[in-house]
C-alpha cells in the first residue's frame, strides 16, 4: 500500500478520537453518579479532570492540522480528518456538560435532593449508549449504524419531557423550597439531552466521511432552540 505514513497516522488519530470519546462517556456517567451519591469532592475532581479532556482535544486537533499540512490527504482521507475535527469539538463540548453537571452538584451542596434521581441516570445511560454507538459507527465507518442511532434520541427526549414535567410540578406546588434546585436539576437533564443530540451530530459526520453527503439527521426536538 502506498502512503503508509498517512495511513498509520490516520489510524492513530482515529484511535485517539475514540479514546477521547471513552473519556467523555466516563465523565458523563461519573458526573451523574456523583450527583446521585452527593459526592462533592468527587465532583470537584471531575471538574479538574475536564482539563485533560480539553488538552487531549487540542493535541488531536494540532495533529490533524499537521497531517493535513504535511500529507495532503484527499477524498475520503480528507473527509475523515475534517469529520474528526468536528467530532472532537462535539466530544469536548460533551465533556463540558459533564463538568456542568458536577458544578450543579456543588451548587446544590449539602442540601438533600428534592426527589430521588431515577430518570436522570436513565437519560445519562441512554445518551452515553448513543454516543458509544456513534463512536462505534465512526470507528467502523458504519453508515447503517450511524443512520440508526438518531432514532434512539426519541427515548432520551421522552425521558427529558418526563423529568421536565415532574420538576415543573415541584416548582408549581412548592416554589419556595424547590424552585432553585428544580431549576438546577432541569439543567442537568438538559445537558444530557444535548449529549444525545451531539451523538447525532457525530453520526452525521460519519455519514459524511463515508458517503461524502452532508445531511442533517432529524432529532425532532424543540431543544435545538437552545444550547
Amino acid at each position: 500500500m502506498l502512503r503508509k505514513r498517512l495511513e498509520s497516522e490516520l489510524q492513530r488519530l482515529s484511535d485517539e478520537v475514540l479514546a477521547l470519546g471513552d473519556m467523555v462517556i466516563e465523565a458523563i456517567m461519573e458526573s451523574v453518579a456523583l450527583l446521585k451519591a452527593r459526592d462533592l469532592e468527587g465532583s470537584e475532581r471531575l471538574i479538574e479532570a475536564d482539563r485533560d479532556i480539553n488538552e487531549r482535544r487540542f493535541d488531536i486537533e494540532s495533529s490533524i492540522l499537521v497531517l493535513i499540512a504535511t500529507q495532503q490527504p484527499m477524498a475520503s482521507d480528507l473527509r475523515r480528518l475534517a469529520a474528526m475535527l468536528e467530532i472532537i469539538g462535539e466530544l469536548e463540548r460533551i465533556g463540558d456538560y459533564a463538568k456542568g453537571i458536577a458544578n450543579i452538584n456543588l451548587m446544590i451542596g449539602e442540601e438533600p435532593l428534592i426527589k430521588p434521581l431515577i430518570d436522570v441516570p436513565r437519560m445519562a445511560e441512554k445518551a452515553c449508549s448513543m454516543l458509544d454507538s456513534a463512536l462505534e459507527a465512526f470507528a467502523n465507518s458504519d453508515v447503517e449504524l450511524a443512520r440508526a442511532v438518531p432514532d434512539e434520541d426519541d427515548e432520551v427526549d421522552a425521558l427529558y419531557n418526563q423529568v421536565y414535567r415532574e420538576l415543573v410540578t415541584f416548582i408549581l406546588t412548592d416554589p419556595q423550597h424547590t424552585a432553585e434546585q428544580a431549576n438546577l436539576l432541569l439543567w442537568v437533564a438538559h445537558n444530557l439531552e444535548r449529549t444525545a443530540d451531539r451523538a447525532t451530530n457525530i453520526c452525521e459526520r460519519v455519514i459524511f466521511t463515508t458517503t461524502g453527503g452532508m445531511k442533517e439527521l432529524d432529532t425532532h426536538f424543540e431543544s435545538d432552540l437552545v444550547d
Binding site: L2, R3, V66
Partner: protein, 263 residues
C-alpha cells in the same frame, strides 16, 4: 520511525559558504543533520540547497572553480581535512540524482558494481546475497528477480531510480543524499520512492533536496528552508521540525514561500 527530537547529529555544518569562481552560491550555513532521520532542503531555484547537499559528500570537488569555506563534520571528523579519504567518504555518504542514471549494464552488475570495488566483505558473504538484499531493500527484487541479466536501461524510470538507490544501498552507506530523486517520476513512482525513504530511514540518515515542498512535507522529519534574496545568496532562513515549518513557520519569508506568495 518518526521524528526523533533526541536523535544525535550525524553531520554538523558550521558557517559553510561555497563559491563557484567569484560567485557565492551558499553563505554561512550552520545546521546539523540528525541520524536516521530525513532532512529535507527546500527553497526556490538558486537558493543554494543543491550546492549545500553537494558539500556534504564533497561532490563540489569535481568542479574545479568551486571553493568551500567553513566546516563539515561526519561523526565529529572534518570531511574537508587535508588527508580525509574521499573515496571512503563517498562510500559512507551515497548519492542519488535527479534523473535515474543506471550504468548501461545488467541489473545485477549495476548493483554489484559498488560492492565489487568497495566491500571486502564479499569474500565472506556472496555477492549474490548483497545484490538480492539491496534489491529487496528498495522493493525491486520481486520485479526483477527472474531476469537479473536484463539491461538496466530496459526498466521503467521508476524502477531505474529504485535500482540507483539499490546501487547506493549495496555499498552500505551511512548517509544517503538525494537530489530531486522523484522529479523525473510519475506520481505513483514518486509515492513509491517516498514510502521507500520512510523504510530506509530505519537504517540510514537521509538528506533530500526537493523543489516540491509537498514532498518535503510528506516525507521528511526536519525541513530547512534556503533562500537567495537581495542581501544574501544561499542563506539558511529557517530549520525546524517539518510539522512546525509547515504549520507554524517562525520566519515571515518561510511563511510567504510555503503559502505560495513567492518562489
Amino acid at each position: 520511525m518518526e521524528r526523533d527530537d533526541n536523535a544525535k547529529y550525524k553531520m554538523r555544518v558550521k558557517e559553510l559558504s561555497c563559491f563557484y569562481g567569484p560567485r557565492p552560491a551558499l553563505t554561512g550555513v550552520s545546521m546539523g543533520i540528525r541520524q536516521r532521520q530525513i532532512t529535507a532542503l527546500i527553497g526556490p531555484s538558486g537558493c543554494g540547497k543543491s550546492t549545500f547537499l553537494r558539500c556534504l559528500n564533497r561532490m563540489n570537488d569535481t568542479i574545479s572553480s568551486a571553493r568551500v569555506e567553513g566546516k563539515v563534520t561526519l561523526d565529529g571528523e572534518d570531511i574537508y581535512a587535508p588527508h580525509y579519504d574521499i573515496t571512503r567518504l563517498r562510500q559512507r555518504v551515497g548519492m542519488v540524482f535527479q534523473r535515474p542514471n543506471p550504468f548501461p549494464q545488467s541489473v545485477y552488475d549495476n548493483v554489484a558494481f559498488g560492492p565489487r570495488i568497495v566491500l571486502r566483505e564479499q569474500r565472506k558473504r556472496g555477492l549474490d546475497e548483497i545484490v538480492e538484499d539491496s534489491l529487496r531493500g528498495v522493493g525491486l527484487w520481486n520485479e526483477v528477480k527472474d531476469d537479473l541479466d536484463q539491461e538496466a536501461t530496459q526498466l521503467s524510470l521508476g524502477q531505474q531510480q529504485r535500482l540507483c538507490l539499490a546501487r547506493v544501498v549495496a555499498v552500505r552507506p551511512e548517509i544517503i543524499l538525494m537530489d530531486e530523486p522523484a522529479s523525473a517520476l510519475d506520481p505513483i513512482d514518486t509515492l513509491k520512492i517516498e514510502d521507500l525513504m520512510r523504510e530506509l530511514v530505519e537504517d540510514y540518515t537521509i538528506v533530500i533536496v526537493t523543489h516540491n515542498m509537498q514532498q518535503a512535507a510528506r516525507v521528511s522529519d526536519w525541513t530547512a528552508f534556503f533562500l537567495t534574496d537581495d542581501e544574501r545568496v544561499g542563506e539558511l532562513v529557517e530549520y525546524g521540525a517539518t510539522a512546525q515549518i509547515f504549520t507554524r513557520p517562525q520566519d515571515e519569508r518561510t511563511e510567504r514561500y510555503i503559502t505560495g506568495e513567492f518562489g
